[in-house]
Amino acid sequence: MRRPPRLADWLLTRFASRYVRQDVLGDLHEEYLCHVIRERSALGARLWYWRQVLGTVVGYHAIRGPVAEDGLVRSRRTNQQWETPLPLESMLSDVRFGMRQLSRNPGFSLLAVLTLALGISASTVVFSVVNAVVLRPLPFEDVDELVSIRETTPRGDRFSVSEPTFLDWSATQQSFADIAGFTGGGATLIGDGAPESLAGLRISHSFFPLLGIAPIMGRSFSPDEDLPGAQARVVMISEGLWRRRFGGSTDIVGTNLVFDDGGYTLIGVVATETAFPGNDVFVPLRADPESDRSNHELEIIGRLASGVSMTGATADMQRIAAIIGEAHPATNADWGVQLLSLTETRIGPTLSRLGYFLLAAVGLLLLMACVSVSNLLIARATARQQEIGIRAALGAGRTRIGRQLLTESSLLGLFGGVLGVAVAAWAVPLLRTVGANTVPRLETASIDATVLLVSLLVSFAAVVLFGLVPSLHVARGRLFSPLRTGAVSPSSGRGRLRDTLVVAQIALSVLVLVGTGLMVRSFVQLQRVELGLSHDDVLTFGLVIPPSSYDGEARGDFVHALEDSIARLPGVELVGTTMVRPFAGFRPSNFVAPTDRVPDRVEDFTPISWGAVTPGYFAALDIRLQKGVVWDPLAPAANMEEGEQPGIVIDRLLADQLWPGQDAIGQSLVWNQIGGTTARVIGVVATVRDEAVAVDARPRLYWHYRDMPWVRVSVMVRTSVGPETTVPAIREVVGGLDSNMPIFDVSTFDAMLADNVAVPRFTMQVLAGFAMAALLLAAMGIYGVTAFGVQCRTHEIGIRMALGARSGQMVRMLLTRGVSLTILGLILGTAGAAVLAQLVETLLYETATIDAVAFAGAAVMMGSVAVIASWIPARRAARVDPKTALASE
């Protein structure tokens, strides 16, 4: 970042005194370079630059005072006289006058600034979040060219890619500059300090070059190191791990790192924190052309060759898929290829829709804030009518007075904007902490240059919105009535304008309230979902049982021994183990068919989700066994090579689907493909919804863990005491069994579940905040209108009261206006909400867009707040002593 910020330079040339701008620019550029070189942090240098520029624009004038244009004898500058004269000096006097005006009425100014700050800070925060999560491009070079390539099943579902297919694609594709494959991996780092379980990726050698991620030290994998059977034990690590574990030591490349399966040579360090957060170790993929084509594990990304469109690339890949299908009909017949932009796959449609929805909501809130301030300004212009009238009578032009009002508005906008951004700067880090690990990329949210620019534009737009109406009002001469005092009719021009603004405010509030109501209803529905398991007092943690020290059988034995020891701990009731924990965000899929009805084509198999668990798993999570039995924990793994049929447990959904109306126990099914492994059903358990709270359960098959002994497992511990209190004892137990085996992802089941609905909860909470603010703003608006109406009619009230009107009648009379405005606002708002609610349909879970409770709730809430807000001033007026009222003139 060698170039200083252009915007700052522009500001300087525009606003700094022309006598010094070239000198200052030169000095700034010179010193900026020193800063960049010394601090290594471009941000620090840029901040310094901005501080200097802003300080200089203001500071020079503060010291020099107004400078007479010809007051300087400085011949060497005559060649610069063509530059435009500075507008700042003349503007400053306007600003000083405006400041005096605002400080004369601090209550009004404070209210207006706070209202604006509310709208601007909310917009800034929401924009910074949406910008980070949705709008900001992924941190890859030329991200528009990047494509996620997946296989599609004969039914058309997107599927991961097998290693041989990836290699075939690599060799024959012509549409991409290159393609790369990767899949999850990980290892336990041993060595100095406690062993640490690290997540990571197995990547093809093309992976980092293709994404445009250059190692900050060392190099990426070479093609040789990526060949199947290559012997080089090489590893790359993330910058985060490098700093955290190795203290950022610069001579680390080439050293030996000891992992659970032996030593590796560290060849490079890469900055992947924003691109692949949470992944710390990278090893070569070494895709094997001889491996099973039905084993779909890889994610593939490609960079489109120049001039190739998505459609062209899709056609090319489909052609290749057809060729592979012919060559390997058993596994690849009718499989296709689907291309999606990488951005789309990484961010996803729901998150973008939520983002835009929140932006729209905060936009409404900002609009309301502007309307409120507009209303305040009109009220003040009314109060200042005498002053303005006098100034007009003394010869001040309409434009001059309008300009002065606009200057005051701009000052309000400036203060509101500064305060709003300050609040946002405080709130965004807070939000980052609160929302950590709930929304992807939220941790990158910050008030950066883009966000600041948007806030600036928003503040400016706000000034135009709230300031222009009253200024035009003045300029059109509405306030240039003769120097009259006394009664003003509320139905005069500005009265009508204020009425319109209040109706708009109420309608906008109803929109925000309905949106919030819908989200709350949807969230409540989510909370009510029957999961089919009981999760109170359950602790979960993850564990990697390294294959280097434990073969499949040993892993089964290890898990058994582990469950046994944990079950004996005080406070522990039940223990079970699963290969993929519930709500992990990922659940393996496969296909099965009953052995007596195996279809001719794989695509007619039944798609299922599956897992591998220990017998204790069902008990630990209270998943009811409906029929049959579960496995004997001590029985060895089924010897499938010898043709022994393993016993499996299926859920009610799969049982009803494969054998409707029959007993599933004792039936057998084929796994994965024609002629695949067969298994026998020994038990049927209740269906559980454990993929995501908002996702319906798919038919489920459970293997015994001993038959599918995955390396990475999650253990569920049901306790009779607070689950967290057992953690130290559990660590001790694991350490006692294997001192190199760290446990990770320690959490309660409840916390895991809360994470799963974090995004909707987050949305709901943000919206609830908006709704409160919107209500408050609308209440202020309607209060203002009624109070104004009451003030205008004080004289009339006095006469009526003197003539014997009761205070109840007076209240009713004064309320009429507020109530009719409210009703109009409610009608318009509800109608608008009914139309706009269609847009959020996909964000709702089992909630109708025209949800009676949400709509009625919004109307009742807004209505009652509005009535109370107009009742307060009305009642006060009706209690006034007639003598006081009559004397008010």
């Binding site: 006598y19 000095d27 550029h29 010179e30 010193e31 203001v58 500071g59 004038h61 503060a62 060497r76």
Partner: protein
């Protein structure tokens, strides 16, 4: 002594910076000298505002050097103190010395 001849504290610091820097006194070096030696972090606006005022009073003079690429092709403006400036500076110091004469202030209080 009229107000025009009186030197403010910051003006004194700037003049002293010019003397300390000698031939190398231009905007950036003056700003850094103030920051590094006097511990005063200021913007270029303040530096130039003060220098321009001192130039008007005839205490300093300035001249532009050749353009330099590191400054985006702009030239450095070098400042040097004029005899009148040196007189004003030493007068300011005399004045302070006279006022300090016989006065004792606890060092601790100043450092706090």
């Amino acid at each position: 002594m009229g107000k025009g001849a009186h030197l403010g504290e910051f003006e004194q610091l700037v003049l002293l910076a010019l003397l300390r820097l000698g031939d190398d006194a231009y905007g950036m070096s003056v700003r850094r000298e103030l920051q590094d030696t006097a511990g005063r972090e200021v913007t270029f606006g303040t530096v130039y505002g003060t220098l321009d005022r001192l130039e008007e009073k005839g205490y300093v003079s300035s001249l532009s050097a050749d353009p330099e690429p590191v400054r985006g092709g702009r030239s450095r403006r070098y400042f040097q103190i004029e005899p009148a400036g040196e007189v004003a500076l030493s007068r300011a110091r005399d004045m302070m010395d006279r006022m300090w004469d016989g006065v004792r202030v606890a060092r601790r209080a100043r450092g706090a």
